[in-house]
Symmetry: C4
């Protein structure tokens, strides 16, 4: 079992490194409009607000995904191949998020951009949900004696996040900015839900 | 021996970090055709499909290389200088893959681009093969009591991957897209082969 | 408690990885003025001095933040949610610093650029201060038996750094270059303050 | 002492992460000459040879620096502030190397570019030398019972590398390409010197 843990640690480490890079390269989306030659004013800075907004949203979305991922892997003690590939697909779409962020950062009001962004967030959600769904059904993968209410709670968190993504995706086709706002709303909701659980316990 | 393990851990950590960065910067290949000013449509997104395909293939190729690398180093307990340099050369060509991916992402149907890509994949294969070949012949480098069938199995996996790369390289000179498809085929094949071994055991 | 430490270690690891990436991508600010085609001379290199200066300042500012962060987490033995989010916000603004560095690297004498840079440094300071303030007030989060003078000393270091940032921010509105120089001064001051404390002890 | 080790581990980890990123972003120097629109041929690929050469040299130079750094920190058991700042300066110039590599990749035959590159390599050497020089003189920083011949050997390796950098720097003013070749020569020399020591022992 010690050996399995070693493999698990490496997967977690590798995931952490990829997430750390993805969250950092978000900053490349911030660029001033206009060329290097001329002076910049506070107005120039101010006009970058859609990019800054997109940067902030993506940063906190990735941070929340990372936090949840860690909470999952705090209770997962062994991995098998299925879990590994679910985790790799989770990473795949997480790595894509900086690109989707570029899309909305430069085309904030275009529905094609916002749809791509929401679809991306949804896909990360789907694989994060897969990870917990798969692990929670297999007691041999989890630390023994895990509280069943916790298992259910995490499943519900994933579901709430998925529903939020689906709604924002559907709306983004017609009202891109509203889709964005719905995604923003998930952040405090997810943070709040956590406290709710602790109060319950 | 504990000291040697420390050195080994650092090499594995360093390799993991490099692979994590290489797999993440693949996303820089995704760029929209056209300039920032105008609106983007779903057609614009759709036209990026060669880039998205190239991104997906490279992502899974690197993920598979990483997985195999980990399985190797799960059984390797000590490193010597030869193994270290083989590993560094493995990293060298792995780091090159994002560049080769750019080539095929922007010139999907040019044989020069596809040949460069296939040659790059082949070179990673060669050094991965070297690592296992070198270690498997030296029992003092491996964990004691390793199953000989496993040693052979990994060697065969390397060989199959190398043959796949050579074929795709040869074909890419004449039919770049067919070369690409042959590389795609390796992915399920390598995943499947693993299960085959487990069934045997 | 061992479990909590595991979570703490991962947070520290994740923070380290993000800081390592942020400090490395600073180098992307260094670019020659002029196009690839023509030859470059020593004059061309010399003319990059504002970029090199900005690179050096940001590198040492991040290095100092990292060092202090480590010293904090050397004494913090448990994290709670509040500390986690303070740390994530600390990372958020640290990740922004390469962008602010680009602003001053390309517009060294524009007050809008320098104000953005100083505000960014201030915001990192604020959250670093929050981390220690929050932890220092809760003995259950710290290693038992920590010297109270140390707690106070670190608080004072944070305060000095914040005051320095506020002053440089205020001055940057009118004299950008003076604001920059005040930020430069903090570096030896912070290094020196450390020695002062050791002498006291 | 356990606590000190923890700090040391983090410094080594942070250094490893920075080096891993620096070595990976070297690949951004590889770009095709010409625009995206037209087809690429084998001639286009072939014309990138100065960039590929620069990439290879920098990759192996960083790999060798990393290897030596690890060997140093294998024997260093504690760090103090002086060692920390020497290490941070070492990282500073290591992070600069991808920029210097861009200079020679795009202006292979310009002496200004090659001088900057050689100076950069020299500066990394200087701080690596400082690290070992400082630690080797303080037995309290090293693992007890370290072979004195080893201490001397590492000092000599640093000196040889520094002399090589100085010579290449001096020559690069007049014959850039010769300066480059002298840097290339160091690679097998440094690898060979290692074996020499082992033969001696």
């Amino acid at each position: 079992m010690k050996e399995k843990n070693l493999e698990l640690e490496r997967l977690v480490f590798f995931s952490d490194a990829v997430v750390a890079i993805a969250i950092t390269i978000l900053v490349f989306n911030l660029k001033l409009i206009g060329d290097e030659g001329k002076h910049i004013t506070f107005t120039d800075l101010w006009q970058t607000w859609p990019k800054v907004l997109a940067f902030f949203l993506s940063f906190f979305i990735i941070a929340l995904f990372w936090k949840l991922h860690h909470q999952f892997f705090f209770y997962i003690r062994t991995i098998d191949e299925m879990l590994l590939w679910n985790n790799i697909c989770w990473l795949l779409f997480l790595v894509l998020l900086p690109f989707s962020t570029t899309l909305i950062a430069t085309h904030f009001t275009d529905s094609a951009a916002m749809v791509a962004y929401c679809a991306n967030v949804l896909l990360i959600n789907v694989f994060q949900n897969n990870i917990w769904d798969y692990a929670a059904k297999r007691p041999e993968l989890l630390t023994p004696g895990i509280d069943e209410r916790l298992t259910k709670f995490y499943r519900r968190v994933c579901n709430v996040a998925m529903i939020n993504s689906v709604i924002s995706l559907a709306i983004a086709f017609f009202f891109p900015v509203v889709g964005f706002i719905i995604l923003v709303v998930r952040l405090p909701a997810l943070m709040f839900s956590e406290r709710l659980f602790k109060a319950m316990k």
